[in-house]
Amino acid sequence: MELTARKLLQEGRPNDIYPLYCGFLDLTVEEIMDIQKRLLKEQITMLEKSEIGQAILPGTWPRNIEDFKNKIPLTTYDDYASFLSKKNEDALPDKPHCWVRTSGRSGYNEVKWMPYTKRYWSKAAHNAFASMIIGSSKNKGEFLLEQGDKILYALAPRPYTSGEIMVYGMLHHFPFQFLPEPEEAEKMDFFERIEKGFSLSLDEGLDIFYGLASILLAVGKQFSGGSNTGKRNMLSMLKRPKALSRLLKGYIRSKKNKRELLPCDIWDPKILGMAGMDCDIFRDKVKYYWGKNPLEGYGLTEGGIAAIQTWARDGMVFFPDMNFLEFISFEEHLKLKADPTYKPDTLLLDQVQEGEVYELIISNFYGSPLVRYRVGDLIKIVALQDEKWGIKMPHMRFFSRADDLIDIAGFTRLTENIIWKAIEKSEVSYNDWVVRKETAEEKTFVHFYIDSSSVMDKELAEGLIHRKLCELDSDYAQLEQMVGLKPVKVTYLEEGVFQRYLQERIAEGADIAHLKPPRLNPSLAVMEKLQNRSG
């Protein structure tokens, strides 16, 4: 019954692939709400009968949306931890097809397990493949993917969601070829896997490359002409004529353009996809290295593949059939933050307003267990529709993690994204950094702790970062204009301190998400470790 691109190809219906996967882009908001409400109804009937559902709301569950919003409490992972961390399948609304994991908070629920039913898993992969179709095409209605297109395996393997959905789920829908093959790749560590993948793609080509924005950038840097590794590779390429020819073509192209060798000289992937909160920061650099404007997606272990950019590459649209979507307005979010017992009002997708920031709340469909779940992300609605491409649904952009905000004197709330952009665009060089909101002598500071190979004068660095922050955030700029406050403070840590921290964490066997310190407001314990290592 399930239609996949793979099946459509077998049936000789390649023209039906686009409407199957991307037809939702032609839906109106009303049609989307019909789908949302209908699938929620099904989900409620399943949850109501389950142990996990009864733990959230004992008795009969409401059937209409207003009652659903009023009676079902907002939830966090803690509400499910007792069932999900033990993988208690009997308590779930439906039989799981697989369990995927993600990283929780350090020290508490460090690993978050999440069951995906077969339908949820397949729908997430369906949406991921829809992203591939959009990413590879230049116009609505185009389907340019081909069987055997090569994808670089640059993702965390299963049971991480990326491996489960973006590799196995994707293969369920379409006969791609991963470099290296998944079975082989999963026996390697991350760096080995990437290296092997690129080596293979030199021979066989590279059609699709997606991963975290930071990975796309790191790989771009590594392939840039000046690296010694590159030169050594060139020598070993002599035994591999296809790879050599590709490198030579790339070399000629780079010379023709009078610049270093870049990945875009060697490959011309159909799709360059990236995810992660740093997409906006690295977008330009990724574009420079890969010669393509990357497609951004929004996915999460608790909510599958939730949103994707379209051809305009400006703002993402939600997939209507993955989760039921609710939005807490920023004011309500702040009230809830101040008083966790506060019951905020939520809006639905057809009620959001352009330019507003919202906290995202999701309820899984298809028998997966989370209901009114606080994802912990703030998103901004950047447009209610895209007239040019005829997309009649709201477009959003990732704004910040709900917890990662530095509030300065109530004037502005700096997100990690803004801070990252500021330091990136200033001339302050860095290997890595963290930033903390600190208070001393009744003054609030945005304190940067920077690990850098070329240390500059602290005051100069503070000035540069401050200027960039003023450029990027008008509210922040008012801080100086109105109260004469310049809150940026810089402290240089010893060079390589972050690398040493990372190695120690690996040795301790920490989870992949907790290897590096959080960039915003790391705890005092973390700061102590970093400063001790600075000697």
């Binding site: 239609l3 190809l9 049936e11 000789g12 037809g23 939702f24 049609e31 789908i35 339908r119 081909e146």
Partner: protein, 833 residues
């Protein structure tokens, strides 16, 4: 001459086609391999042409050389066909085999050019003037290569053919397979000596090349079967016309000599006309034959629709219609099964009707199901594989998909009448994996429209027929069914007939207490209880308001008893879950009767009588009905009727039996002592006997309760004086007594909190009518000296003591004194009890 012309023509055709193909946009790999293929064919033709040229000029060396050069063209054709197929299938997994193929072609050309002897060692001139080659050792290698590529091509195409659903591509694969066989025939013709020297292989190859081009590029432009059919039809028509003319002409010429000329003309014309009539008949038969030959699907559906139209003229049961349509549909549409869903009466669900025998399981399609919504809105057929592409269908539920999966439903066709969908025809997958083409969907939709007309007509006819004998509220048969002597299946007058007669106890109370809607639902569900309890051949008939009769042909008494037990059991179960009477149990009075050799009328009469006799509640209802009718008609009741009415309140209660009469007697004695006379005595007589008339409205569970009443029951019981007064107030003859009856439970001191309390109005002293005060004393006296379920009768001494204590409190002192005076007479109690 033709020895040169054919290869020359084919060579030119191939070169032109190569040029045309290279101009095609898109399909890069496909066009390239196609162009190579035509070049290979052109080369083959060129070599063949050279062989012929040098054969004529008798230069065997050159003939051998061109024969040798021909050899690589054969494996090249097969390899390139494989490459074309591979490009057409867009399968990259066999790219290596394509690459190897190119290498092999290059190797064969090289070998043919430099070491042609490996393929062909020499030529010998045959008697017919043809040079025949003798093969070298490597010719086997080319054969092996040909076989491998041929096998893989056929294997891939066959696999695809089984998986493909898209009809155009499927048809192309069809033609590709034919093309491969044409090449095989072309090559094989070279080994058949009779064909050698004739350009048979070239003709095969030319046809094959054109077909291949058609299959890949132009499939949508030309409908080959249509062309062939049209030509055959035209040929047939022409032949028959010519034949008719020749026969007519012959008849004329032959008869010219023997018959007078004008008669010969007429005679020939008659023969010609007869021939034309036969010809017309044959023509339509041949057209059907051609249609079945070239468009079997369409022809079968047209024949099926004719069959449906014929069926609509017949009087048929709906079940038979479904069965017949199902069979026709399966046969004509070549589907594995067909299901019909009809819209239910509540409009919310579609219930299943199926052609399958037996029906797999019951299923329904909710009207909120997006497929159903789409079907109702668009009112056109839905092919599931297309519909699933629509994003609106992403809201389908798992269970909805499961229904579709379970029944293997592939397409939906609305059954429409008066612009409204009243049902759905669902087709499953087709036999031998035939695809659902657009054309097929159109034809099936046409078929569904005819089905809709037929089904709708049959349903309407059935409904009209049933409406005459079916009770619309309960769905049971109605009385008319018996009165009009509708056939009772299996009933013969000499057979025994079991009859169960039921009515609902106190049904009026259900209607009054819980509303008529609840009453209707109770009746409807009780009918279901009975229907589920009886045998298949038994009939449940709603005989009157809440009276039902179950007719059981051939049932002996023990069978009737069994069914009665089943009804009682099912009723008990139903009572536990029904919610219409707020937990109050609904009960049935059940009587049975078995007869043989009696007419239906007699049976019904007997059953009715038995029911009347057996059922006390029925009598009670009859009396209530009598009163109501009197009230309505303002008729005067007789004394006897008044007594009957009063007694009706005591039916079924041994403890209160005769109470009203006794109270009347005591009251009259007391009144005598008080000196009342004339009209007052008459009024007291009636009022005393009717004082408890209001108990008609009190449920018997309360009236007959063994034990003290609880608060709610007591509150109900306290209503009876008011209800009694209300009843009497509506009857002209008794309206003066309403007040007397209303206050017979007041206390002389008007104390609302005393035990027993005053009710309903709390009047006191002289405000309470005298006749009422008399009845109060008489009523209390009779109650005290009578036994009750919860206490024995009170002794007379004790009664006197109570009255002494309550005089001036509960009772009027003067009336109490009159009672005591009466008690002095020894026969006061005995004579009346």
């Amino acid at each position: 001459m033709n020895l040169f012309i054919i290869p020359a023509i084919t060579l030119t055709v191939y070169l032109i086609m190569t040029a045309v193909i290279l101009r095609q946009r898109g399909y890069k790999v496909l066009s390239r391999s196609f162009a190579f293929y035509f070049l290979a064919l052109a080369f083959w033709q060129f070599c063949a042409l050279m062989v012929r040229v040098y054969s004529l000029s008798e230069q065997p060396e050159m003939v051998l050389f061109w024969y040798q050069m021909t050899v690589p063209a054969i494996p090249a054709c097969f390899i390139l066909i494989f490459i074309i197929i591979n490009a057409f299938r867009r399968d990259s997994s066999r790219n290596w085999l394509c690459l190897l193929g190119y290498y092999l072609i290059a190797a064969f050309i090289g070998m043919a050019f430099f070491s042609g002897d490996w393929f062909m060692q020499g030529v010998t001139l045959h008697d017919s003037g043809i040079y025949v080659p003798s093969f070298g050792p490597l010719i086997l290698l080319t054969a092996v290569v040909v076989i491998i590529y041929l096998a893989v091509s056929l294997y891939d195409l066959w696999n695809d053919y089984n998986k493909l659903l898209e009809p155009t591509i499927r048809s192309r694969v069809h033609y590709l397979i034919i093309c491969i066989f044409l090449i095989i025939f072309a090559i094989a013709s070279n080994f058949i000596f009779d064909f050698q020297g004739h350009p048979v292989d070239h003709l095969f190859l030319l046809v094959q090349a054109l077909l291949l081009n058609y299959a890949i590029y132009d499939r949508n432009i030309l409908d080959l079967p249509l062309v062939v059919r049209m030509n055959l039809s035209f040929l047939f028509v022409s032949l028959m016309t010519v034949l008719a003319l020749i026969i007519a002409l012959l008849a004329f010429i032959l008869n010219m000599h023997t018959l007078v000329s004008y008669f010969a003309v007429v005679y020939s014309a008659v023969i010609a006309l007869l021939l034309i009539v036969v010809f017309l008949f044959l023509r339509s038969r041949f057209e059907i034959f051609f249609d079945l030959l070239f468009y079997p699907e369409r022809a079968r559906i047209y024949l099926a629709v004719n069959e449906l139209i014929r069926m609509s003229a017949e009087e048929t049961k709906i079940e038979d219609v479904f069965e017949k349509i199902g069979l026709i549909c399966k046969k004509s549409l070549s589907v594995k099964d067909v299901f019909f869903f009809l819209k239910d009466t509540d409009g919310n669900y579609y219930i299943e009707k199926s052609s399958s025998n037996p029906i797999p399981t019951s299923a329904s399609l909710h009207q909120e199901n997006p497929i159903i919504k789409m079907l109702e809105n668009e009112q056109s057929s839905i092919l599931l594989s297309d519909a699933l592409l629509k994003p609106q269908l992403q809201g389908l539920w798992k269970e909805e998909l499961e229904v579709i999966n379970t029944y293997d439903i592939k397409s939906f066709f609305p059954l429409i009448t008066k612009s409204k969908v009243f049902g759905i025809m669902c087709l499953t997958s087709r036999i031998t994996n035939r695809p659902y083409t657009q054309h097929f969907m159109q034809m099936a939709q046409y078929f569904a429209q005819q089905c809709a007309i037929l089904i709708n007509n049959t349903i309407l006819y059935d409904e009209v027929k049933k409406a005459a004998i079916i009770d619309p509220l309960t769905g049971a048969y109605n009385r008319r069914m018996l009165e009009d002597s509708y056939t009772l299946d299996g009933y013969e007058e000499d057979l025994s007939v079991g009859m169960i007669i039921t009515d609902v106890n106190n049904f009026k109370h259900i209607n009054d207490q819980y509303g008529h809607q609840a009453g209707d639902l109770v009746l409807r569900e009780l009918t279901d209880v009975m229907k589920n309890s009886v045998r298949d051949q038994d009939l449940v008939v709603r005989f009157g308001g809440d009276e039902f009769i179950v007719l059981m042909p051939g049932a002996e008494p023990y069978i009737t008893k069994k069914v009665v037990s089943r009804i009682e059991r099912n009723l008990e179960k139903w009572n536990k879950k029904q919610k219409y009477t707020n937990g109050e149990e609904v009960s049935l009075k059940i009587g049975t009767y078995t007869a043989a050799g009696e007419s239906m009328d007699k049976l019904v009469y007997e059953a009715d009588q038995k029911l009347l006799v057996a059922n006390h509640d029925h009598k009670q209802q009859q009396l209530a009905k009598l009163l109501n009718e009197s009230v309505r008609d303002r008729k005067t009741l007789t004394e006897q009727a008044v007594l009957a009415l009063a007694k009706s309140t005591e039916l079924g209660d041994p403890y209160t039996s005769g109470h009203s009469e006794r109270v009347m007697a005591y009251a009259l004695k007391i009144a005598e002592k008080l000196g009342l006379v004339g009209p007052q005595i008459e009024a007291l007589r009636h009022a005393a006997i009717l004082h408890d008339i209001g108990k008609i409205g009190i449920h018997k569970n309360v009236l007959l309760k063994e034990g003290p009443l609880n608060k709610e029951e007591w509150e109900l019981m306290k209503l009876h004086p008011v209800m009694g007064a209300q009843i009497l107030a509506k009857v002209k003859q008794f309206e003066d007594m309403a007040d007397i009856v209303r206050h017979h439970h007041e206390r002389y001191d008007g104390d609302l909190n005393a035990s027993p309390p005053a009710y309903p109005d709390g009047l006191k002293g002289e405000d309470i009518p005298l006749l009422t005060r008399i009845i109060t004393v008489a009523d209390a006296f009779d109650a005290m000296i009578s036994s009750r379920p919860y206490r024995p009768a009170i002794s007379l001494d004790k009664v006197k003591e109570i009255f002494e204590n309550e005089a001036g409190k509960q009772f009027d002192r003067n009336v109490t004194i009159a009672l005591f005076s009466c008690l002095e007479s020894e026969d006061f109690i005995e004579e009346k009890i």
